[in-house]
């Protein structure tokens, strides 16, 4: 980690959007054999307009942390502040989610899906149509507004899903492996779109991914997590202004950061696999 990069200087001046303080999460009854410590005493700050990535082995508590930040369930310990509000439940006006699998309701058309989202969020009805149209056009899906999700390909569906997350108009978007089910090319194109969006709108994004390239390409900072129980192992800063062009991926800086991330992650992944084996052996 370099000491003082231009980005850091810029970001340091910005207010904190999300502050995670000593958050821990346990599943199962304390002391019982099926007790799992998913997140262990994590603290981190995300500044406004920052793109932050959580990178870590499977099962290390990334989704759990994201759900806690979004108020979907309370943490066993610790607090999360969004702006100056402690998170006690969903904050639909401040935070929206984009999940891995498309969470568009299969029983509604794309339009109905957007409408129902606005309804949940209490958006004035007069805005629904224009916001839907604008968001869909941003991902080139305007022509499919009256289709059912099942009539779209996985990639198209996830683009619509992303558009919905953006249409909700929150300052913070939490993304849990939004591109995991997509092919490499679509993934990269959407990544570029996202980088552009960030530059244009200044949204704060916390992003979970297993892709090293994606993490480096998109992030301002990458939080590398340890195997379970999840803690922060290291922070990698990516000092490159948004919007980033695909050319960034060809630079030596990119490969260097990518390798750095991989080196940090490798041992943790091994550790996670060992943990899984152990659990399986204990189960048998």
């Amino acid at each position: 980690m370099s000491e003082s990069t231009p980005f850091r200087a810029a970001a340091a001046g910005r207010p904190v959007a999300i502050s995670i303080r000593n958050v821990s999460q346990r599943f199962g009854d304390a002391g019982s054999p099926n007790e799992v410590v998913a997140v262990d005493d994590m603290s981190l700050d995300v500044r406004r307009g920052e793109f932050v990535c959580l990178l870590g082995p499977s099962g290390c508590g990334k989704s759990t942390l994201l759900n806690i930040v979004g108020g979907l369930f309370p943490a066993t310990d610790g607090v999360v502040m969004v702006g100056d509000k402690p998170v006690k439940g969903p904050l639909p006006r401040d935070i929206s989610f984009v999940f891995q699998e498309s969470t568009l309701f299969p029983w509604y058309t794309i339009r109905e899906n957007f409408d129902v989202a606005f309804k949940f969020q209490n958006v004035a009805k007069s805005e629904w149509a224009s916001r839907t149209k604008q968001a869909l056009e941003a991902v080139n899906m305007g022509a499919f507004i009256d289709h059912y999700p099942n009539q779209l390909s996985v990639g198209m569906r996830q683009r619509v899903n992303l558009a919905r997350g953006i249409a909700l108009g929150t300052d913070i978007i939490l993304m849990d492996e939004p591109f995991a089910a997509l092919d490499e090319q679509t993934r990269m194109v959407l990544g570029e779109d996202l980088s552009e969006l960030l530059a244009k709108t200044g949204k704060t994004i916390v992003f979970v991914t297993h892709s090293l390239a994606e993490a480096v390409f998109l992030s301002d900072r990458i939080f590398v997590m340890t195997a379970r129980p999840g803690r922060i192992k290291s922070i990698i800063e990516v000092d490159e202004p948004h919007p980033r062009s695909p050319d960034f991926m060809l630079t030596p800086k990119f490969s260097e950061l990518r390798n750095q991330a991989y080196a940090l992650l490798r041992d943790e992944v091994r550790q996670a696999i060992a943990l899984a084996r152990e659990a399986e052996a204990a189960h048998a």
Partner: protein, 270 residues
């Protein structure tokens, strides 16, 4: 869905029955089978069966217009039975949905209350009919209550079953957007459980009708049950069958209503 699939090759497959489309063939086959049954029934009742037990369809139709529909007392009884069934069914749907949703909402609810529901469902309610009479008297209230007691169980059971396996991500995503519990029920649970729910609604309809008619037969001083009993005891099959036909039409009508509603809610599956 099967209907849609069958419709695809319908275009204009030439066939031996005068170039009829496959769909038309299906429809005509159905009609011929029904017609054949009526004719067979007519022949059996006219020439073979005991005329005190069976009545040919022609005589039934005649009795329908000559005895049943012209008698204001019987018309009143039919109207009353129809109202009882309708009221009982609407109540069964409301109670069934509310109970089913509350029981199925959480694992805790399902595990604590569902076995009790199943237990109650297993009791043949007929043995409780005297209790219903004692509680609700012999008027329409008794029949409605008895109909409800039959109708709610399949609805509850199917609602609970339908709520299972709802994608947790849909719930999570909806909650993150600010959905209330009512929103979740309306926009996630309900559409998810539609197939199961409607299976329950149809079964519930049949059982509501059964409950109302059972109560009618058991305690009736002028309702449809009274007339049925009267015709049966006086060995007068034609008006009896006509009355039964009226009840059957009632059942079919209600069933159609449920089916239309179901189609409206499952459009997205095609």
């Amino acid at each position: 869905m099967t209907v849609a699939a069958a419709r695809v090759p319908a275009a204009s497959t030439p066939s031996f029955i005068g170039g009829m489309s496959r769909r038309a063939k299906v429809i005509w086959t159905r009609r011929l089978v029904l017609l054949g049954l009526v004719v067979a029934f007519e022949i059996y009742a006219r020439f073979i069966g005991n005329p005190r037990l069976f009545s040919p369809p022609s005589a039934i139709v005649y009795a329908l217009f000559d005895e049943i529909l012209v008698d204001p007392r019987i018309r009143g009884a039919i109207y009353q039975a129809f109202t009882e069934v309708l009221v009982a069914y609407v109540m069964a749907i409301i109670i069934g949905l509310v109970v089913g949703l509350s029981v199925g909402w959480s694992n805790f609810g399902r595990r604590s209350f569902y076995p009790i529901v199943i237990l109650l469902y297993a009791i043949p309610q007929v043995i409780l009919l005297p209790l219903f009479v004692l509680t609700f008297g012999i008027g329409p209230a008794c029949k409605i209550a008895f109909g409800v007691s039959h109708g709610i169980f399949p609805i509850i059971v199917n609602v609970v079953a339908g709520m299972r396996n709802v994608n947790a991500l849909y719930l999570r995503s909806a909650s993150s957007m600010g959905a209330s519990n009512f929103d979740l029920a309306r926009h996630v649970y309900f559409p998810h459980m539609v197939p199961s729910l409607f299976a329950g609604l149809r079964l519930g309809m049949t059982l509501t009708l059964l409950g109302v008619i059972l109560a009618e037969l058991y305690v009736s001083t002028g309702g449809i049950g009274y007339w049925t009993k009267l015709y049966a005891e006086t060995f007068d099959p034609a008006p009896l069958f006509a009355l039964i036909a009226v009840l059957a039409v009632m059942a079919i009508l209600l069933n159609e209503l449920v089916r239309i509603a179901e189609r409206r809610f499952t459009r997205w599956r095609n």
